[in-house]
Each structure stands twice: as C-alpha cells, then as structure tokens.
C-alpha cells in the first residue's frame, strides 16, 4: 500500500487543498462558467451581492442558472423551486459517496456539514480522485481548503462577468451571455455517456423549446420531468439495465 501524503498541521492540510485547487484543471473551467453566470445575473436584473450570495449558498452551477433565469424571467416561484430541487437530487448520492472518504472514528457529524455543503461536481470529482492519497485525519481540512478555493474562484469570476456585462458593448455582452447555454450544453453532453442521459438531453432540448413556444404553464417542469421520465422508460424497457458512469 503506497504511503499516504501527510501534512504537519491541519492548517497546512487546508492550504494543501488551496494549492491543489489553484493548480487544477477546474480553475479555468470554473472561471469561464461563472463569468457566464455573472453576466446572466446582470442581464436578469439581479444585484452583484445577490449573485455572490447565490454562489456561496446554492453553490451549484445548474441550480444557479435555473434560479437566475427562472426568477429573472418571472416564472412561478414554486416552479423554480421544484426545478432547482430536481436538479439538486444528484448532490445526494455525491455526498454519500464522499463522506466515507472523510470520516474517521474521531470525526463528528458537525465536522462534515461544511464538506457536505461544499459538495458540487468539480469539487467532488477532484476529492474522489485526490483524497485517497491523503492521510485520513487530514482529509476534511484538505477538502475544505480545496472547496473553499473553488468557491472563491467562482464568486470572483461571477463578479468579473457581472461587471463586464454591465460595461461591454452589446455584441460582446451577448457573447458573455452565450457562455452559459453553450458551456452547459457541451458539459452535459460530455458527461452523458449512457443512452438514457443522451435521450434525456435531446428530449429536454426539444421539449423545452416546444413547450416554451406554446407558452405552456410550467413548461420547464413538463419538459424536464416528462422528457426525463420518457427517456428513463425507453431505455429501461428497450434493453437490459443501463450502465451508468458516475
């Protein structure tokens, strides 16, 4: 069994996490994504403070995009809340998979509240990859340093996007607003490795457009729950159980 990396103190472990975040591939990805989200928040008339708090508290790109575009466009709040919670379900198995890596006999549940809140796709992918090589007792501190840095990057670049969108000529502001749809489309397609996920992606794109064009009430929920359920049923009954990665 290989030697686990150990830090002299828990604050050294925290800063080990900080350093890891600053040099990881997710730095530019997160910067670009949050420039787009910041521009989106500006476009929908939300304040810079609101944007920053949404990054710190919601801390999930898809949920923030749903929230900002939903309340910005004046959708029913209950619809937005349901769409946000449906997009957040994926956090539940992610937290469950992460915690066994962090927990030792001495760990109190209260120590795990922060890592649970910090759980989001990029932090989770990096943690699952890196934590197994870190000494058990220092994993919580390392993980907190990693995630707090990602969050700081996201909040900072969100403000960059917000103020760029406010100051740039319309063509370039449009290009900033375009970051969110194209980057989320491509990253969703990239992680959609199963037939089920790909079908859900296509049905969501088509359903979202058609139902919004027909001005159906709760268009997003119908497109999401309907499209996702159809995709699920089709792939379930078309062949043997689907293989899912992540």
């Amino acid at each position: 069994m290989p030697e686990l990396k150990s830090f002299p103190t828990s604050s050294a472990a925290f800063f080990g996490g900080v350093r890891h975040a600053l040099t990881s591939v997710f730095f530019p990805v997160m910067g670009g994504t949050y420039i787009g989200i910041g521009a989106l928040a500006h476009d929908f008339g939300l304040s810079a403070l609101w944007l920053t708090l949404s990054t710190l508290f919601v801390w999930a790109g898809p949920a923030q995009v749903i929230l900002i575009s939903g309340i910005g466009a004046g959708a029913a709040l209950i619809e937005v809340a349901i769409a946000v919670t449906l997009s957040g379900i994926r956090l539940f198995p992610m937290v469950m998979a992460l915690l066994p890596l962090l927990r030792t006999r001495e760990t109190r549940t209260t120590d795990l509240i922060l890592p649970a809140h910090f759980t989001s796709v990029s932090m989770w992918i990096e943690s699952l990859r890196v934590l197994p090589g870190i000494a058990h007792a220092q994993r919580v501190a390392f993980c907190n340093g990693l995630a707090a840095t990602y969050m700081g990057i996201a909040a900072t670049f969100g403000l960059v996007g917000f103020y760029l969108a406010a100051g740039l000529p319309p063509l370039f502001a449009a290009a900033l607003l375009f970051i969110t749809p194209i980057s989320f489309l491509i990253s969703t397609a990239r992680s959609a490795v199963t037939m089920l996920d790909r079908l859900a992606l296509v049905l969501g794109l088509v359903g979202g457009t058609v139902l919004a064009a027909l001005q159906v009430e709760f268009d997003l929920l119908w497109a999401g729950v309907g499209g996702g359920t159809i995709a699920y049923l089709v792939s379930r009954f078309r062949k043997k159980p689907v293989q899912a990665d992540v």
Binding site: L40, S47, W50, S54, V58, A60, P62, A63, I66, L67, S69, I71, G72, A73, A81, I82, A83, V84, T85, G88, R90, L91, P93, M94, V95, M96, L112, A116, T119, L171, F172, A174, A175, L177, F178, P181, I182, S183, F184, I186, S187, T188, A189, L196, A200, L201, L203, G204, L205, G208, T209, L211, L220, G224, V225, G228, T229, A231, P241, A244
Partner: protein
C-alpha cells in the same frame, strides 16, 4: 417586509433550501442508495432534461443583449460549437470557443 429584501428571501427559499436539502439527506443517511439504483437513474435523466430545457430557452428565447443577435445566428453558433466539440477531441473548450467565434462573427455581420 421591505421590497429590497425580497430577492434575498427568494434566493434562500427557492434557491438555497430546495438544493441544500439533498446535501443534508446525503449527510444524514449513513447508508443508502446504490448509484445504479433506478431512482438515481431516473433523477439524473430528469435533471439532465431540465438543464437541457433551460439551455434551449436561453438560446431560443434569449433576453437582453443576446436577443439582439438574430435567432439563426444563435442556433447556428450552438450547432457549430457542438460540432467542434465532437470533432476536436471532445474538448469542451474548443466547442465553447468555436461557438463564441461564430456568434461574434455572425452577430457582427447580421446585426439588425
């Protein structure tokens, strides 16, 4: 209740709580769902479709400065960008950059 506080209350009740609840469920349930379980597969499909619906609406029913770019240019930019992603080693960065370039060039020449 002052009107300035309203967006922040909405943020907490409509954004924070519905999302955070799942993190707490994951924290509280010591053992539970298999990642391959049917409910997890279904919820992933629904979350994917919802996000896809949001993406489609942001492009087709664009608002603000993005709405000043003609619909054909927006849809064309997404399609070319997506194609670039598929063709250039499935690189998200390549897809986003090509899509952005098409949007900027198209927006410049076909601006109303």
């Amino acid at each position: 209740m002052s009107a300035e506080l309203w967006p922040y209350i909405v943020l907490m009740v409509v954004g924070f709580l519905p999302n955070e609840a799942w993190r707490l469920v994951g924290l509280v349930l010591a053992r539970g769902l298999n990642e391959e379980s049917q409910i997890v597969l279904w919820s992933r499909a629904v979350a994917t479709a919802i996000l896809a619906g949001v993406v489609a609406k942001l492009i087709v029913f664009a608002s603000g400065s993005l709405a000043t770019i003609p619909l054909g240019v927006r849809v064309g930019a997404v399609m070319v960008g997506f194609l670039a992603f598929l063709l250039i080693r499935r690189s998200p960065l390549a897809g986003v950059l090509v899509g952005e370039a098409v949007l900027l060039i198209g927006g410049y020449f076909f601006a109303p």
